[in-house]
């Protein structure tokens, strides 16, 4: 028990050290470049590299006189983007798993589809985003038209499905052949071999894909918002603050800080669920 | 035995892992003479692999001293007195058989021609002529282990340390490898320390068998093996062979091998 508290304390100490190190690097770099007047690779001033305390401080300033703090807006925006990302993650992970299961089951699909699954990721998704977001606006399913933010989720899903498909194939195939034969000796159906053996064997692979996918879904949600004129999420604020960057650079940095935290939060959430669900020998993250 | 003849002397070796953790070795005293073939045998957790690593200066003892050829174990390592063979072949996947065998020679500054000549000699010694261009994955487990033995012998070390080298092989292959090892040992006349948990293997190969017991890891008895040299297939059917096997087995049981609860061996 004592040692557990000890390691927790050590972790917090390392965290503080890393944060202090980053702060020192940032401010030290600023100071050196400003005092020597170096302009390579770019000139350093409070527009290009605002003080870190100004960036954090910007979160706790009202955006205009008499209005709530920026942090308040950021929280709402982060939740909005998180919703898009979460729905995108669910769609992408489901599609990715089903596709992976089909590919793992039918070898001919591996050769037929897998090259295109890889190629799909070379399509610059941001370029597609406006087309997807505008295009899906005209789609309605049995009289139900998806909301604007759901179209952003589609982009998040597009980035999410790839790692899940790849690792589902690997994971389902990783089941020990001897264990498969054992199941067959019980005259188990393919369906029960799948659920009782292959899926559990695939779990570690699936979760390492989910960790990559969690990040990808946040990236997809943020860049999906950029061309879609959706103002409620972090992407909308990035566009907004980008236009005022020369005046208030801290604000754009602050949104990016929040986006970074959201990405890390999604990642840690998957790590947490993995700890609860999968009991495999301890291994490295990702 | 006169001290001058001893290749290895271990005096009062103890090893504890972690703070107040497992005592892997306690008060080990051992002398190994030149040209001897010593087996260390005992149940899991008796510290036989740890003792081997302490002798090879791969693990520092908590207390006590190892002398190898009259030098400290560290100096002996720096002088490249050790050839080591592990349970798995530990070949480098990215090197061919010839280049795996030549690895220590490269590090020790032999030139290309010397290396090529030595590799050919060793390939014949372990009967792998013609396999020099193969990669490790193209060989069977037994062949890989022979490559790793050739690699260990390449620079003619004074002392060969072998950590269950045939533990992962099937019984037939293991017996064949035993014969080959004895043939090589007779040819090059080096000193071998051999870790095993097979009683028959220990008796068949060794000039002396060192029996160890766990918790704390210690030497409970040392049995000289007076079977005739060279040993052959007939040796395995010699009544004396069976007597010695029984002696080793009884020594193991007397040392408390029976009340061992299975636990993973501590190797750091």
């Amino acid at each position: 028990m004592r040692s557990r508290i000890g390691t927790a304390a050590a972790r917090v100490a390392v965290l503080l050290l890393v944060l202090a190190g980053l702060w020192a690097l940032w401010e030290g770099y600023r100071k050196l470049w400003e005092s020597t007047g170096w302009t390579w690779p770019f000139p350093v001033n409070s527009t290009t590299m605002p003080h870190l305390h100004d960036i954090v401080g910007a979160l706790f300033d009202p955006i205009r006189e008499g209005e709530p703090l920026l942090a308040r807006y950021m929280l709402d925006a982060a939740l909005f983007t998180a919703k898009e990302a979460a729905v995108g993650f669910l769609i992408g992970a489901t599609v990715g798993f089903l596709l992976g299961a089909l590919i793992a089951r039918f070898g001919v699909l591996q050769r037929g589809i897998m090259p295109y699954v890889v190629a799909s990721q070379t399509i610059p998704i941001l370029a597609l985003a406006p087309i997807v977001v505008v295009g899906l606006g005209s789609v309605s399913i049995a009289g139900w038209t998806p909301k604007d933010w759901m179209r952003v989720s589609v982009i998040a899903a597009y980035l999410t499905f790839f790692p899940v498909t790849v690792n589902t194939v690997r994971g389902l195939r990783s089941a020990d052949p001897a264990a498969v034969e054992l199941m067959q000796s019980y005259a188990a159906r393919e369906w029960s071999i799948f659920w009782k053996l292959r899926v559990p064997a695939a779990m570690p692979y699936l979760f390492s894909a989910f960790k990559v996918a969690a990040t990808a879904s946040v990236v997809g949600a943020v860049i999906g918002e950029l061309p879609s004129s959706i103002q409620d999420g972090l992407g909308g604020w990035i566009i907004n603050f980008n236009q005022y960057y020369a005046l208030e650079p801290e604000n754009l940095w602050a949104v990016n800080l929040v986006a970074a935290l959201l990405g890390i939060a999604f990642f840690l959430l998957v790590v947490l669920v993995e700890k609860l669900v999968v009991h495999h020998p301890p291994e490295q993250l990702v | 035995m006169k001290p001058s003849e001893a290749v290895v002397t271990a005096r009062g070796i103890s090893k504890t892992f972690g703070k107040g953790g497992v005592t892997a070795l306690q008060d080990i005293e051992l002398d190994v003479g030149r040209g001897e073939f010593i087996s260390l045998i005992g149940p899991s957790g008796c510290g036989k692999s740890t003792l081997l690593r302490v002798i090879g200066d791969l693990v520092d003892p908590t207390s006590g001293e190892i002398r190898v050829n009259g030098k400290s174990a560290r100096q002996a390592r720096l002088d490249r007195d050790y050839g080591i063979v592990f349970q798995s072949a530990v070949l480098y996947d990215w090197r061919t058989v010839a280049k795996n065998i030549a690895l220590p020679l490269e590090l020790m500054g032999f030139n290309r021609a010397e290396r090529a000549a030595r590799v050919q000699e060793l390939l014949s010694l372990v009967e792998l002529d013609g396999f020099e261009k193969h990669y490790p994955w193209q060989l069977s487990g037994g062949m890989q282990q022979r490559v790793s033995i050739a690699r260990a012998l390449s620079f003619t070390p004074a002392l060969l340390l072998m950590d269950e080298p045939f533990g992962a092989l099937d019984e037939m292959t293991r017996e064949r490898m035993n014969d080959e090892l004895l043939r090589i040992w007779t040819e090059i006349r080096s000193t071998v320390i051999f870790v095993t948990h097979s009683i028959t293997e220990a008796v068949y190969l060794s000039t002396r068998v060192v029996v160890m017991s766990p918790r704390p890891g210690r030497i409970t008895s040392v049995l000289p093996i007076d079977l005739e040299q060279p040993r052959t297939r007939e040796t395995r059917e010699d009544p004396r062979f069976f007597e010695l096997v029984t002696e080793v087995r009884e020594a193991l049981h007397a040392g408390g091998a029976d009340d061992v609860v299975e636990e993973p061996e501590v190797v750091e």
Partner: protein
Amino acid sequence: MSTLAHPASGRRNTQRVRKWGPAAIVFGIGMALWQWVLPALGVERYLLPPLSDVLQAFWDNRSELVRGGWITFKEALGGFVLGCSLAFGFALVLARWRPLGSALMPYMIAANAVPIVAFAPITNAWFGTLSPWSKVVIAAVLCFFPVLVNTLRGLTSLRPESLELMRSYAAPQRVVFARARIPNSLPFVFSALKIASVLAMIGAVVGDYFGGSTEALGVQIVSSVSLAQYETAWAAILVASLIGIAFYAAVALAERLVVGWHPSIRAGVD
């Protein structure tokens, strides 16, 4: 000899058909769907114009598209080289001083979870919107973390006996790295480089979204969409994808040449 050669080459042809046949069939089906079925289903032109129109648009704008592709590819390649070499060097340092490496590892992994493309407007503010460096830096940062994490894993994932062997040869650290750690890391490095090649292209194109030289591919896509020239936009997307695939394939080829000894390659798994 000549009589034997025939069945062998026949078998090789059959193997080739087995290997590439399904992919070719899917390609054919995909193209047919795109050209005839989607328009027949009433998919609007602005969503996806028919294949022939996109190819026509490519042909009409070929010189701009190829020049734009080259500009964007140079940005991606610059970022790829910069990010990957920094990551490799940093990984060597972290592997040499293990406590530092293991203390920082969780933070590297967390940094990998940051949506880095969102920083594109900031690099534009650093280097100027028209400067290729703003895209190079975004592509480099995107490549940096996956390569760092994978390389560090490759450098440190040797079996303990491998290192004991080196210790028994009294090998200095320089030799341990040159003969054991670095060769061991190469399969890990290459799988990260393949990911990085795709990320570098995405980084360069997304960087263009926030403004860039009007000739760059990403800018051409954005402006074509805003002018409702969807065929041209799709042609540009096609060019970007083809460059991405070629980049990936080039890295995969280099992998085959450099780490041909690795199990995944000899088994033909990709």
